[in-house]
């Protein structure tokens, strides 16, 4: 990652209205390199809606989002951002390797090769296995492996710890700390208490 570039994610007075219900309004925050933003709140408080606004899937009803100094609609943001959502985004009829190969073709190649990334998320030797044969936790780790093979500054994670076991959670926490140490940023929602040392964690409670 280029050190000299000033990147930060800035939200100004965001609001989101869904079915005539105000989920949040006047929400502002600033996320700098190496920081994590943890969104908290009850079910239905708009965490996922906020993440989808950050992804560019939804327009905020009011307010603006800036990446560096530009609005996020410009294509640099799309290149810098990666999203792992509720849905794993992997095809169950393809093998683990084929899935990652497509993701790699759609993004910028990153630090890890596909084989290294699979070893990193404890899926080594699974490369020829069809995804439908994997367990829910393994699928989750596979979709998180996508973050390693492509180069993205900002990770947007919606409940990344769902269906992971204790080791899996510890593993993802380590990966997140490493990402921040390299100047990356993370926005995530989680019901799980995360333990992240040496990282600035901002918390926003939406409810």
């Amino acid at each position: 990652m280029e050190e000299n570039e000033v990147v930060r994610l800035q939200a100004n007075q965001l609001s989101c209205i869904r079915d005539d219900r105000v989920l949040f309004e006047g929400l502002s925050f600033e996320l700098n390199a190496g920081q994590i933003l943890l969104l908290e709140g009850k079910n239905g408080s708009g965490k996922t809606s906020l993440l989808r606004i950050l992804c560019g899937f939804r327009e905020p009803d009011e307010g603006e989002l800036l990446w560096g100094f530009d609005a996020i609609n410009d294509s640099q943001y799309q290149t810098d951002m990666a999203y792992v959502g509720h849905l794993d985004g992997v095809k169950k009829e393809l093998t683990v390797y084929e899935n990652l190969k497509v993701s790699l073709a759609l993004g910028r190649p990153g630090r890890y090769s596909i084989i290294d990334a699979l070893a990193r998320v404890n899926l080594a030797n699974y490369d020829d296995v069809l995804v439908q044969a994997l367990s829910a936790g393994q699928k989750r780790r596979l979709s998180l492996a996508r973050l390693l093979i492509t180069e993205n500054k900002l990770w947007i994670l919606d409940e990344p710890f769902t269906s992971l076991d204790k080791q899996g959670i510890a593993l993802i926490e380590t990966l997140m700390i490493e990402h921040c140490a390299r100047g990356g940023m993370i926005v995530l929602t989680s019901h799980h208490d995360i333990e992240l040392h040496d990282v600035v964690v901002q918390r926003i409670n939406l409810s």
Binding site: R52, C55, G56, F57, R58, S75, Q78, T79, M81, A82, Y83, G85, H86, L87, D88, G89, V90, K91, K92, E93, L94, E98, K101, V102, S103, L104, A105, L106, G107, R108, P109, R146
Partner: protein, 224 residues
């Protein structure tokens, strides 16, 4: 990694997926064959009538078969979240969508071309118009996939989008149907059909260039 790399990766992915879910290939082609074989049974022993309406039968069946296969274009990607990942890619969504439509045509449109001559012979179509029939199918079926993709992209977020899809898409199929079946009909009388073929070519070029944009935009709306 470049744009063409991503484009071909999408095509390859969809072809591999289609090979592993064979019903997707078999369904439209079975439907096409079944509908066409039902016509002689319904009309009875009137070979001349059958011969006269053969171009229309083949083209209407091709049109319905292609519409039947449309739903599978984005459905599974929408359901498992792959569509989000494709749209989040830094490459233009319209090009990636074009890749998906192309793979879809290779899987559902191309097989129609392969069986159509055989069915045309069954219906008693003169052999000198078979070439024109194949040409119109070659030019016309990709248009059906491209225009259909816009309709599917708009309705993929709806659980019961099937009826709306046909209402949206069928009127847009009419020009292709008119020019294609007319070309085959004229060809069987031995007259030149270059006018119809040229119009079909221009429709194809226009849809390749123009259809991916609204499709990508509609997909972005649907995943919202």
């Amino acid at each position: 990694m470049s744009l063409s790399n991503a484009f071909f990766a999408i095509i390859k992915r969809d072809l591999v997926l289609a090979l592993r879910r064979r019903s997707e290939i078999a369904n439209p082609i079975l439907f096409f064959v079944l509908v066409i074989t039902l016509f002689p049974l319904g009309i009875g022993a009137q070979p001349h009538l059958l011969q006269t309406i053969a171009p229309g039968i083949i083209w209407v069946s091709a049109l319905l078969a292609s519409m039947l296969s449309l739903d599978s274009l984005f459905r599974s990607d929408f359901d498992d979240g792959s569509l989000e990942q494709i749209l989040l890619s830094s490459y233009p969504a319209s090009i990636l969508v074009l890749g998906k439509v192309m793979a879809h045509w290779l899987v559902t449109g191309l097989p129609l071309l392969i069986v159509a001559p055989l069915l045309a012979v069954f219906l008693g179509m003169p052999s000198h118009s078979l070439g024109i029939l194949l040409l119109t199918l070659l030019l016309g079926t990709p248009v059906l996939s491209l225009i259909g993709a816009i309709g599917v992209a708009l309705t993929v977020g709806l659980r019961r989008g099937g009826m709306i899809l046909s209402l949206l898409v069928l009127p847009l199929y009419v020009p292709v149907l008119i020019f294609a079946s007319n070309a085959v009909e004229i060809a069987s009388t031995g007259l030149p059909v270059s006018a119809q073929i040229n119009i079909l070519i221009s429709i194809l070029v226009m849809s390749v260039v123009l259809a991916p944009w609204p499709t990508a935009a509609a997909l972005k709306m649907s995943i919202n």
